[in-house]
């Protein structure tokens, strides 16, 4: 428990004292300081009860100091018993400093902290003091007010937060493992239902299946089950097509890649896809003769669109919409089709590129009109 450090100087607050070049010993109860050789030979030395220490702090060396001396600041509470056999009668400060002229290892701080946490002095107290029953012990003064108090509360709060975070993540990892089992369970149940079709009414089967479906894709394609990346992407491409064909048809034949990414991952629930994998899967669609394909606008915006939808028909549809509404902004078209503004803008621009509409760029914003110049 005892650690001896040499060449230690004591500070009263910020002021140097004449106690310098001494030895320091840290015990479970006290800090002792004595002139070299004084402690082992039992001569007079200074002692500080650790119970008075509220908080310790390592003083960061200032940028201008070149000495290797390191300081530890000890914030003290007021002594309860008024005996004044200390080195100084009064002090303006509520802290002292220990200055290690030759530096120290980090374990000094550790040792002090350890001793402070152990509170060895408290364990002994009940044995010594026999309290009369019915009289409660004086409430221990928990904290000093002021900056020290605030700092200490902050430290405690941080510690508590750290603990609760790690507990929370423990739960999450448990959930992940449990969820895998859940999916497996639901799969076995669904196969069992299929086998025992006779026992259960069709209604029940349908109900249960819809529950499963609302969970998402019941058997997500994962990388593990494929040997090569290309095969994996092909599998994914098929999965994305089946999952997104209906929504894309409803949205006017086009869906931005961000929406594709979100929707696919929402449907998978677990085993989430990375954006790269999604993109690669969409790229693989071209070779697979699937109803959807990846399309890149001139601006670089990528969408997943129905294969049946080509530029001409798309811009015809857009032009017709503009004609019906007399004029359209990107926002209005986006709202009307239920697609993002970026996508709506792309559609308008591609219609403009083939001369199916024309633009009005004013301070009121970009608005598209039927191309009366060419119709006339």
């Amino acid at each position: 428990m005892n650690r001896i450090k040499e060449n230690v100087r004591l500070y009263d607050g910020d002021q140097k004292t004449s106690f310098e070049g001494g030895e320091l010993i840290i015990t479970s109860h006290r800090i002792l300081w004595g002139r070299p050789g004084a402690i082992p030979t039992g001569q007079t030395c200074l002692a500080l009860n650790l119970s008075l220490v509220v908080y310790i702090e390592e003083e960061s060396p200032s940028a201008f100091s070149f000495s290797k001396s390191r300081k530890i600041v000890l914030f003290l509470s007021e002594s309860l018993n008024e005996q004044s056999n200390g080195p100084q009668y009064t002090s303006y400060y509520n802290f002292i400093k220990l200055s290690f002229r030759d530096g120290y290892q980090h374990n000094v701080i550790d040792t002090l902290n350890h001793a402070l946490q152990q509170k060895a002095w408290e364990n002994r107290q009940p044995k010594r003091q026999v309290e009369p029953s019915g009289v409660k012990a004086l409430p221990t003064i928990k904290l000093r007010t002021g900056i020290v108090g605030i700092e200490r509360t902050l430290q405690e709060k941080q510690k508590a937060a750290d603990e609760s975070i790690s507990v929370a993540f423990q739960d999450l990892s448990k959930l992940m493992t449990m969820a895998k089992d859940m999916v497996k369970l639901s799969q076995t149940i669904s196969t069992k239902i299929k086998e025992k079709q006779g026992d259960i009414t069709d209604d029940d089967t349908v109900k249960f299946k819809s529950y499963l479906l609302s969970l998402g894709i019941d058997d997500p394609v994962t990388r593990d089950s494929y040997k090569s990346n290309t095969q994996y992407y092909r599998g994914l491409a098929r999965e994305i097509c089946t999952a997104l064909r209906d929504p894309i048809e409803k949205m006017g034949g086009m869906m931005g890649m961000t929406d594709v990414f979100c929707r696919v991952n929402r449907a998978r629930g677990l085993e989430l896809l990375s954006p790269e994998d999604t993109l690669n899967a969409c790229k693989a669609m071209e070779t697979l003769d699937l109803p959807l394909k990846l399309y890149q606008f001139n601006s670089g915006v990528m969408v997943l669109q129905l294969k049946s939808l080509d530029d001409d028909t798309a811009s015809d549809v857009t032009a017709q919409l503009i004609k019906d509404k007399e004029s359209l902004t990107c926002e209005e078209l986006g709202k009307h089709l239920g697609v993002s503004i970026v996508l709506a803008k792309e559609r308008l621009l591609s219609a403009e590129r083939v001369g199916k509409c024309c633009r009005d760029d004013s301070i009121e914003g970009l608005r598209f009109y039927p191309n009366l110049f060419l119709i006339d």
């Binding site: 004029s327 403009e352 024309c358 009005d360 004013s362 608005r367 009366l372 006339d376």
Partner: protein, 177 residues
């Protein structure tokens, strides 16, 4: 500017008309419409010259009813298109000041020379003022023609040896042959 009732084309109240269209085919139609409109407007208002910095406030380039204005740069590019056909000419390098010829200089020249021949004024000297604002020329197409433009027209005739300019300080006139 004198207020003249202009019969605006349908494009004038079509907001995209005031934005230069990126689609090439659309743009050529649009620019053609602007060229016709500018020449018609200048003919009807007897405008021989304009300053783009000022003209973009004119009703020609700004339709307050739909709150649209043609950008000065676009005006300049359209005027440059007009210049290719001899219907306009920039007066400075910054292309801010322009003369507009709703008849090209050659057209004006033949028109004036035709009038001279008709009135038998060959071999006589006429001042610029008489030619442009005289009572005799009232009702002629070139009545009120700006002197700077008139000189350019007469230069064309001079090149064809049909007249000779007399640019003395006290009397500026022209002698036709």
């Amino acid at each position: 500017m004198t207020e003249v009732d202009i019969s605006w084309p349908w494009q004038y109240s079509f907001p995209p008309f005031f934005t230069l269209q990126p689609h090439p085919e659309t743009r050529s139609k649009q620019v053609a419409a602007w060229k016709t409109l500018i020449l018609d407007y200048c003919r009807q208002t007897k405008t021989y010259s304009l300053d783009v910095r000022e003209a973009n406030q004119w009703p020609l380039f700004s339709n307050s009813a739909i709150n649209r204005k043609l950008d000065s740069n676009v005006i300049i590019s359209i005027l440059s298109e007009l210049a290719k056909n001899g219907n306009a000419a920039a007066l400075d390098k910054a292309k801010n000041r322009w003369e507009i010829y709703w008849h090209t200089l050659e057209e004006w020249a033949s028109m004036i020379y035709g009038y001279i021949c008709e009135s038998g004024l060959q071999n006589s000297v006429i001042t610029f003022f008489e030619l442009s604002n005289g009572t005799d020329v009232e009702g002629q197409e070139f009545f009120g023609i700006q002197t700077e433009v008139l000189i350019k027209v007469l230069r064309v005739l001079e090149n064809d040896r049909k007249c000779e300019l007399i640019l003395a300080d006290d009397m500026q006139g022209v002698k036709f042959f």
